[in-house]
Symmetry: D3
Subunit: 329 residues, 6 copies
């Protein structure tokens, strides 16, 4: 069995605050003895639960990295009981390139778990996280947003699981996070996801989608910051009271929630995120991008609900996702 | 004197509706006898003024192209008196690549006027528009948005000009467009702009910034569509009543409106577009993108006003624009 | 066992004509929720045999795609008994890029069978075709040509197989296709080929090489169209009489048919496709590409026969194929 | 006035045969003190006229380079009276990359004359040839073919000129070349062409199109070799008798000879090079490249004649040339 | 079990000298029937031991290729007893591109052994060498240098092995090579190395690091040439006396010999190769590369010794190797 | 006349130390309102001469940038009388990419003077330096080394000028710099050089070549640091005594000092930098890079002297510089 070549420059078992790196040797044309350096902060204080907080699973999603950078720079050991492990930019090669997937190997990290110690760079990082960090954790919060090509209503989510006790714990943690929208998800194709790896290890897991378009706003980052604090209080790592506002519960029951394009062109949205749509209602049109005077293709919602996610770039390709219509509960 | 090699496949002097192309022969490795084909629609009906409506000056800005594609596909000659020339994707090579500048020659079209008939592809297109299309027009509307890297509050704008009568006409047209915000601009460095070329030819000129992030929304496109209709009524090409709502008048008096970054990193906005800021207020922070545990650089507004434009990508480079604080009048 | 993520938007078990796609979800930097969309047409009418007709296995070969696009657009259910499944551009990512191999993963589709449901994009497509489409078929016709870098005399081919009954059926189908040349092939290294996968499933299989140079001609496409019609008649899916002309039977007995270059340079052919050559005859010379005044390297046929295939680009690299001398029977 | 930095390693004024280079210093990232090296051969013997023979004006056209490489390696001084200057690969950077245009600066050499001594690499080469080599010549033969994206019937051509005596000399030289087809051309847009530069200097000029598709054949190279010998005899540099076969005289009177595509897709030719077509006859169809079941766009000949040139790649882009219908005289 | 598709154009079992290639068929976009051609020379004379001499394992290291090219061009069969197999550019695709790793598949050859017959191009080459060439050898000498991004003091090295008899043989061969420095190495992570493969097969193995910076010098190549001759004499393949000078014995006992950068920037070395350093001594500083006026990060030796290797490029990235402090014995 | 768009964030007329940037607005696809930021430090104290110290004219040469970064971070105003302007990375886009020329426009800065205010990015920087900074200076020191593709013996140099008084001043400054070698240069092709611009403005100018291979060493940087201090003392900006060692005076009288390659391949140097060579002596050989068993091309010195510069990469291209033989005085 190959050993994972990643080593941490920080200790996981010492009280106090330690900033450092997960270092992965990576030999390449522009650095024969180079390394991938994944920033990590470990804050520990006495006995208590461990929270693993991750961002940058996809490298072009920013609410998590911003909120976690601030947390790593401001949280003091005496504010917690237990341990907080912070990885603001988990897929560091993708993050530093501003891309969803790793520029080294094309790896989509959230389809590469549990990874391999002798695999690609992305697979090695996944394997280290799955085999070394997740086992240390009681609760895991993984931040996502839409990235450069998708935009979402801000929501936290937990999965429907076979183990109903674990599912209840996850749903409770999601409600504690208290994003403006909360989603109960049945993941049909969950192979390779970080979510699946964490849940398989029996941990409490919460994920989010907090915006998109390859950016973040003061408002969307505020949701992330509040959610982190709420979650750490919920997990009994921080003291204090939860900060709870109204949240809209959403369901995504099946494939009919999703609309895809069958023609490439210039996309025009007829409704915006958060708007209510009805089954059969046009939600977007695709105009020719190379000529004038032709009629557009109209794209239709297949069920009643709220437009919860959409495509961002002004041009759309054949097969691209157009819109997600989720069902308020 | 070289002749511009572009030819139009549509007539400019016939009543009715004609869809076609400006064809520019472009010999290259992947097509020895290829062409750049810029879509154009000409709609004419009797004697009357001519409006030239343009989008895609920058290829990653979408409100103009969407609204103009719909106009070209729906406006009937009997609805107008005079002529409407529609170029939804003026810098077609940039538009089809989804880029601000031309992938052929790197040309930023709005810094390439009046162009050259024997220049680069971008310069040839500019020269044709400046020498063949602008002279046909009485009023010109050029759509802009922020593109992939900027986001704007939606505004129409007209320039402060030496000829005060022309300036008044431009300001009146801008007010008729009636975007949510209206900006009176003093362009300091206007060399190479389409705006300057049109104004130099003595025409009425209106421009816009209607959003950004490389996308458009139902709301932002609705502003463009209303503005076009209002402008055509204002120009007496269409009949009907102007559709007028409240608009906020903004001023951008000098360089102190602009904030730039002097460090690269992960940007966190502390205020959002439309928020009021005061001189000395932090508007953004830049976190390290390669390590945790360091303090961010804080970026400060240099005057009171409203955050009117911002950087979009979650990572920011040294020298990048951060924020524009405009002054409400 | 992982499930193949590809789904078809057309039914395989309904009479009539259905045009649609094989949709493969493909998450990537420029479309987080994007898809590869492989065009497919299914035409069915009552009980009868099924023909699977494929083109675009290599993305720069055009006789198959052209003839199959016309078939898909013109064949009516009432013309057939049974079913015709048409995939004109099987390796769609390669086809749309005009490349032999997939631009996504570099995959040479004809060395990627039987594929993997959890593999690369090319492997997933292969796996779907091998596990879902081939089992539906009684006879499979896969179109090839030389692509951008090879040119062939037009031939249909069938393989020498262990199962002589199956071999006879394949040879009969090849003769029914009735290309100008017909080749009986012993495939020595057949690992990963579509041919092998189809034959292993016990089906009748015919392949072709109909030209090359990354293009097609009216004459070469006519061979493909005639061949399709003959094959469907031969398979008793269409009624009518075979359209049969003379065909020259060729054999490629061993490695001595092939000539390769050991020097890079500017290639000069001394004989053309279809010319007769003798063992020891120079068939090409390679001149220096960076200087004048040097003597060329001469390349020699190693057996008597007909020049059946050659290299296309004017520059040749070390190790490139130069010529194939096949033996008329 | 800047001096052209190119120097020749061969003498132009010494009898005998000299192989060498035109050396152009070219500083760049991968060679701070590097050079572009353009192969040249000069063969001289006593007093007599000078022929300048050039290939590789476009870097992906091969009949000229092959025939001229053989000439440079085989012609002996005693076979001539006067001087032969041979440049088989005039745009050497394009030639070595197998591209029409220079990979260094994108320069299309045949639109870059008369060049500049302080310009791009392509412009410097043009300036040297125009100012140093053309003045030495009495007759200039420049070889062209279709390159990777065009294919031509094999023809030699001369231009209609204002100076009818010069025109007669050029036409006589073209007839002496004796390609299978001979074309009398009125060049409408001749700015930047090598042809124009040579003709402006009062020289006899012949050009060719001998095939295409980025390759050459034994047959097409034989036309080039015969044409060179005939031309040198015609110019009284070599002794011997002209080798003359039938040639078909073609005319290309105006723009109606050319057909261009207005839709991108998969192109199907309905006639081949050399076929007779009538005005109104479909010559090609363009099928969708991303779906089945749609009707193709049909492209129509605008006059009677012979299909003399066509597009090569199986995929065609909007604005690409489709076919040239020339008129036999 | 798949067969390795590589074939040799030279015999391994005939006396005399044979120059040729290992030919690996490699189908790709720019050559459908292309090949990778790896140069090889086999020199044999009667019965005796076999030496396998390899360079170009990493494609940007030059002492080995230069010395082995000269050996292949000058060694005569009558000078030896036994056999010498010379592969000066083992990873030919990397070598011809001047890169450490293969441009085809990114493969680092020295982490790709023992390879796979059905793997990537790099894996296929490794598999052929491991399964066909190493078994023929009694002694293997593999040349390395620092490549473009590292520079080394010139040393030969042998590994500490479990089989002490084999280790003694390797150490003796290393001492016979007699580089200016000699290193006894404990390879901790030896998975995939050529070294490991050869040692596992029980052969005598010597490796080197003879310089770096992507170049070689007269002095560094002289070390390689002397070492080859000495090694062939030591192995009793050549007759003659060893040419022995002083060599400094070095040890690299553990990870504390290595210094890595944790900040990117402009690197300043404070000591040079061969200089003595003490534990705690600064060996380099990293300055900001985008601003002036900031303090550099200082990098410290963690033990006493000699600076034996360093980073070459003037800019350094986070995680890059900075210096190796080896311990003289 | 266009105004140069560059502005400085530091004052040039205030005592004290100021670190900042030259900011050049640069609109592009990845930052619509981005900037090029060139670091600058100005240190001033009372009345006295001004020295302009520049590095990074070519972006892959490191002695200047390292020594100037240290100077900018350590020199205090009270140490000087007058003013020191420091630009360690003049062509910042090239420097940050580690390339000789600008990755934005390919510009070789040392062939782009005096630049243009409306030109490319490189031309704008040149114009600003030539029109705003050089006029402020009495003495200018511009650091060069060989970059990634050349290596030099360390020398300072001054030019032979028409104004002998200015020449004497430059020679005196060069001698004060006191590099190990000192070169009196006749620049034949000096168009576009920074040197020429400075000299034309009548200033004292010194340049250097201090090493190469895209790196620097403790020894080579020490030469730069000593030279700066000596020069500032010589210019009476700093007090103190010159630190003078032996220097070897070299001359490069004509083109016969330079040797270029006429064949591409694997280069073997037969002498090293600093070695004495005689006219007719082989200095390098070029081996085939794609085969074994062929004889190398030998490259010959054309005069007696010292090998003063050489090519670095192990592979050499046709037309590349091989060696410079300078003449000791």
């Amino acid at each position: 069995m190959t050993t994972n070549p990643i080593s941490a420059t920080v200790p996981f078992d010492q009280d106090g605050i330690h900033h450092g790196f997960l270092r992965l040797p990576y030999s390449r044309n522009d650095s024969a003895w180079g390394s991938v350096m994944i920033p990590i902060t470990v804050i520990a204080n006495g006995k208590g639960p461990t929270a693993l907080l991750t961002g940058g699973n996809h490298g072009d999603e920013y609410e998590g990295p911003v909120a976690l950078q601030e947390l790593a720079a401001s949280l003091r050991p005496e504010q917690i009981t237990g341990r907080v492990i912070i990885l603001p930019m988990m897929n560091q090669p993708a993050f530093s390139a501003g891309l969803r997937c790793s520029p080294i190997d094309g790896g989509n990290m959230n389809r590469s778990f549990p990874g391999r110690p002798d695999g690609t760079v992305t697979q090695k990082i996944c394997h280290y996280i799955a085999s070394e960090l997740v086992p240390l954790a009681d609760i895991v919060l993984d931040f996502h947003s839409g990235g450069k090509t998708l935009d979402f209503l801000p929501f936290a989510a937990a999965h429907i699981l076979d183990d109903k006790r674990q599912e209840d714990d996850c749903m409770a943690a999601m409600q504690a996070f208290n994003a403006p929208y909360s989603v109960r998800m049945l993941e049909i194709d969950n192979v390779g996801m970080f979510d699946t790896e964490v849940e398989t290890q029996g941990k409490v897991f919460v994920t989010t989608e907090l915006g998109g378009a390859g950016t973040s706003t003061a408002r969307s980052v505020a949701i992330a910051k509040k959610g982190i604090r709420n979650l750490l209080i919920h997990a009994k790592i921080m003291a204090g009271n939860l900060d709870i506002s109204d949240t809209i519960q959403l369901d995504m029951p099946d494939e009919s929630c999703f609309v895809f394009a069958e023609k490439a062109g210039l996309v025009e949205y007829l409704v915006d995120l958060g708007d209510t749509v009805e089954s059969g209602q046009p939600i977007a049109r695709v105009w020719a991008s190379d000529r004038t005077g032709t009629q557009p293709e109209t794209l239709i919602a297949k069920r009643d609900g709220i437009l919860t996610a959409r495509h961002v770039p002004g041009l759309i390709k054949i097969g691209d996702f157009v819109g997600l219509v989720a069902v308020p509960l």
